[in-house]
Amino acid sequence: MIFDKVAQIIAKVAHCNIQDVKPESELTALGVDSLKAITVIFEIEETFDVEIPNEAIKSIVTVSDILDKLDKLINQDESH
């Protein structure tokens, strides 16, 4: 569910095929440059109602990295 939504966002921002978006995919290989990465994070923040710190963006390389961070943020939110 979370992966599907993230994949949709990446495909929309990078104008790539959604089938190419896999957890292990590197964002740059999907056409997500640094400017587009900021847009991807913005869309994720809007969709999941979370705030991803800028420092975290710098360490994101793969789709999995986004999913891990998102998972932590959502769980953190639920535990509060």
């Binding site: 104008h15 400017l35 900021i38 847009t39 994070i41 913005f42 869309e43 923040e45 800028n54 963006i57």
Partner: protein, 351 residues
């Protein structure tokens, strides 16, 4: 908005070059602004000193990398600048839309208001001998010479594109630049006193130039040499509320690639340099004014893209400048324009 011809439209879409009002561009602008807002909040929360960035304000040349800057930016084709600047003054600096940047006026009116504000703050009376460092397309000169027939203004620029424009208008008898204006085709450094003489000017002014200033102390010492004993100096340039780690605009930074060699100084820094001059006042002009100006420039630029393409701009260059407006807008918009804006400084000779 003017529609682009079909072929160009396809090429732009393929290269992901979007109009300023497209949903893709608005999304990019909004997301970048949010990213930057988080950065600005962290700068405000954890202030750093200018010394910690390793940047000095009293060492080295007055300005640097002028050739690179001209080549990269100011000597781009005249059609580019004429396509997006206001039609009257051709002013390539922030226009003034009122204290909060919200006045419902045109770019042309807002540029006029900027010159009115500067004239008032620089205490221009109308009979002075003025030196304008970095005169651009003669926008301040056009405003002042139109208003004050007794004023004399000397403008300096090293830009070939600006010099050609100025020379053309100086020969046009109906244009304010045709009388009372002297053009100096040069860079502004210590050797300029040979051309300008000492103690000649009532007012030395700069608008949107000291983003290239490296050595504040040497600059103000040089200006003091050029001023008459009762002279004054006024400067307008982009500043930040507090020091950021990105004071130096090197080519690795998104804005630095457009302005190599530049600096964005914290607002308080310039006013500390009172070795040679006395500070009279400083002002911070809200960055929403620059956001509005850039937005208007962006739309005008977009409308001029078909002409630029016809004149030989390739798709890559069109994207380069389209991104420029996007990045600059995102830079000024966070925190309601309170973080990056323009500062004004007025100094007088020591008495």
């Amino acid at each position: 908005m003017q529609s682009l011809d079909n072929n160009l439209d396809v090429l732009l879409a393929k290269a992901e070059i979007f109009s300023p009002d497209s949903s893709a561009m608005l999304l990019q602008e909004k997301s970048l602004a949010r990213y930057l807002e988080k950065e600005y909040r962290s700068y405000l929360k954890n202030p750093i000193s200018l010394q910690s960035t390793g940047i000095s304000t009293d060492k080295g040349p007055i300005m640097d990398q002028t050739d690179d800057l001209m080549k990269t930016h100011y000597d781009e084709s005249i059609e580019l600048f004429m396509g997006f600047l206001d039609t009257r003054y051709r002013a390539y600096t922030m226009a003034y839309y009122g204290e909060t940047g919200d006045d419902e006026i045109s770019l042309e009116e807002a540029q006029l208001n900027k010159f009115k504000l500067i004239s008032q703050r620089a205490q221009i009376k109308g009979h002075e001998n003025i030196l304008n460092i970095g005169c651009g397309f003669g926008s301040l000169e056009t405003y002042l010479l139109d208003k004050y027939p007794d004023i004399h203004i000397t403008g300096i620029t090293p830009s070939k594109v600006q010099i050609n424009y100025l020379k053309k208008h100086m020969q046009d008898r109906s244009h304010p630049l045709s009388s009372g204006f002297t053009l100096i085709e040069d860079v502004f450094d210590e050797s300029i006193t040979e051309k300008l003489g000492l103690s000649q000017y009532d007012l030395v002014i700069s608008i949107g130039v000291f983003e290239q200033l490296l050595n504040m102390k040497a600059m103000l010492a040089l200006i003091a040499k050029l001023l008459k004993p009762d002279g004054r100096t006024f400067h307008h340039f982009i500043t930040s509320q507090v020091t950021t780690p990105h004071v130096r605009l090197d080519k690795k930074t998104v804005i630095g690639k457009y302005f190599p060699g530049g600096r964005i100084w914290p607002h308080d820094e310039f006013s500390r340099h009172t070795d040679h001059l006395d500070l009279v006042n400083t002002w911070f002009v809200n960055g929403k004014n620059y956001l509005r100006t850039l937005n208007e420039w962006h739309h005008r630029y977009w409308n001029s893209v078909p002409l630029l393409y016809e004149k030989g701009f390739n798709i890559e260059t069109i994207k380069y400048w389209n991104d420029y407006f996007l990045l600059c807008k995102a830079m000024f918009s966070p925190l309601d324009g309170a973080f990056y804006g323009n500062s004004h400084y007025l100094f007088t000779m020591k008495r």
